[in-house]
């Protein structure tokens, strides 16, 4: 596993470098993974990399790019929109010559078009946002401040909003709240029930699960080589 750099389009039309974790042996099968989002990204990262290790052993190259503004990215998160993320993942797929794509949870919202692949437990933007707003409301309440989802969203659309430490711009919030994973030809869903156990994004603390990683890697490897 090595860090790899790829040219990511910026809103101003230029390209800047972003990082990806890569298992690249110039093999025929090449899977791009669009990571889970925000807090879920942290809880799912180790699991995602464990799945990549298994796919590497099974003869599949895989790539886990950073979404601009997240993880190692130096771009301001506040300036991102669902459109810039979608363009970024499309550029990553093209740079790494991906043959297949996997979107994890909210990552399913930003899968590049035209590649066969899978959506693992896809989540709507509204669901992710609702949970993050609720966490903020609970934390504020403990600090003696009363907030509501309606008020936070209205304020956020106007001036941007900080949720669980992520500073999201108004334009992002506006588009993200109605974002729904798209159904497209050649892309199928992997439900949690197919892996056994409960989804690791639910856990209060980041965790791992070998059996689930084995199961997901097996589904992907068999599908990719079919």
């Amino acid at each position: 596993m090595t860090p790899a750099s790829w040219p990511c389009p910026r809103p101003d039309g230029t390209n800047g470098a972003e990082l990806a974790l890569a298992f690249d042996d110039f093999r025929r099968w090449r899977l791009l993974i669009v990571p889970a989002l925000f807090d879920e990204a942290n809880r799912m990262r180790r699991f995602t990399v464990e799945v990549m290790r298994r796919l590497d052993n099974a003869g599949v190259d895989c790539f886990l790019p950073d979404l601009p503004g997240c993880n190692e990215s130096l771009q301001p998160l506040e300036k991102q929109t669902p459109e810039t993320w979608h363009a970024a993942m499309t550029a990553a797929a093209s740079h790494f010559r991906a043959s297949h794509v996997l979107g994890i949870r909210g990552g399913a919202l930003f899968m590049p078009a035209g590649l066969p692949g899978w959506r693992y437990a896809p989540a709507k933007g509204a669901t992710i946002l609702r949970q993050m707003m609720r966490a903020r409301i609970l934390a504020s309440r403990e600090a003696g401040r009363v907030e509501s989802q309606e008020q936070l969203l209205a304020e956020g659309l106007d001036k941007g909003l900080e949720l669980s430490g992520y500073r999201l711009g108004g334009e992002f919030l506006g588009a993200f709240q109605s974002a729904v994973p798209k159904v497209s030809a050649g892309v199928s869903d992997i439900e949690q029930g197919m892996l056994g156990g409960s989804g690791l994004w639910l856990r209060a603390e980041p965790d791992e699960d070998r059996e689930q990683a084995d199961a997901l890697a097996a589904i992907l490897a068999i599908g990719i080589k079919a």
């Binding site: 993050m132 609720r134 966490a135 609970l138 989802q149 209060a204």
Partner: protein
């Protein structure tokens, strides 16, 4: 209905807290949750509530969430049972 709800709630807590199968069976009405389990911070509680909505088919208003409801397994169960009974009154 109450028993169903209790089983589901134990399962949800198992999933969110990453407990071993069966471990949540030991939760009694007075078992402490929010404020007693360090991993149950506001983000985890938000996840717990969202998962409860999905799996127990209820809607929780933010105004309904308070420390008392989340304090013990018993108080959380009571909240959910009331919610579900209200929703299905006359159905079962």
């Amino acid at each position: 209905m109450r028993q169903d709800t209790e089983v589901l709630l134990r399962q949800i807590l198992t999933d969110v807290l990453g407990l071993k199968p069966g471990q949540a069976d030991g939760f009694a009405a007075e078992t402490g949750l929010f404020g007693h389990l360090p991993e149950l911070d506001s983000m985890a509680v938000a996840g717990l509530l969202t998962e409860m909505e999905d799996r127990l088919d209820i809607l929780i208003d933010d105004d309904e969430i308070d420390g008392e409801m989340l304090e013990t397994f018993g108080s959380l169960l009571e909240f959910v049972v009331t919610k579900r009974t209200g929703r299905t009154s006359g159905d079962d």
